[in-house]
Amino acid sequence: MLEVVIFYLSALIAIGGAVLMIAQRNPVASVLYLIVSLAAQAVLYIQLSALFVGALLIIVYAGAILVLFLFVIMLLNLRGEHFEGQDQKVGRITKYVLSGLFFIELVIIVRQLAIPARTDIVSAQTATDFGGVEPVAELLYTKYLFPFELTSVLLLVAVVGAVVMARREKSEKQGGV
């Protein structure tokens, strides 16, 4: 019973945070609402006994990526005139109707999905350390070692690309590399 309450409460907070995120005018408030939504999603992860990934969601997403967003918003010192403009040609209602249809389509797909015999979340056969740091790390360093190493290359490329793109153009004129 308690887990049902926790599920619906977290789901409500996750959805509410997401809706408030896209409804805000102020980007800083948007980021904070996204953090609320992610915290609720981390609760759901932990409920699904994904302890390691749930902790990672808080540490990496809320702690690093969204703080990066906050840094950029403060660096740009955004005011209203920077992101508010004239009305678009496509009406707002059209967009909401399209998005609602998209969600209905997703629900229909989930309904028709042939979920195999184990429809409910299993609990009995699950190992006690399912989703802990050690078993996930073991998979990561054995079965998925190559993708894991490729990830480090991807991050390196992203860091170099970000530095190159965010650099001021002046340094090139002054004879920089």
Binding site: I22, L106, S123, T126, G161
Partner: protein, 100 residues
Amino acid sequence: MIPIAHYLILGGLLFAIGAVGVIVSRNLIVMFMSIELMLNAANLAIIAFSRSLNLMDGHVFVFLIMAVAAAEAAVGLAIIIAIFRNRETINADKFNLLRR
């Protein structure tokens, strides 16, 4: 126990909200955060399936998706900074150079 379909529908709802954010918003940063939300919705579905099938491989996928999201955020925000330096705006409607 909560059926897995509930988690999938929650993931679908979060994905739809993210899609609404990308379509409706004109602020580049909010659009970008909506994309992050869509990635997270997919992650939630993967975690639910992983628990249902009693396989931990899904956790590794989510880990890799988070790394990709971090890389994407770094590059995307750098692009936003570069665009802001050139055009003094982050309103997506103002970037219509190719349309004229």
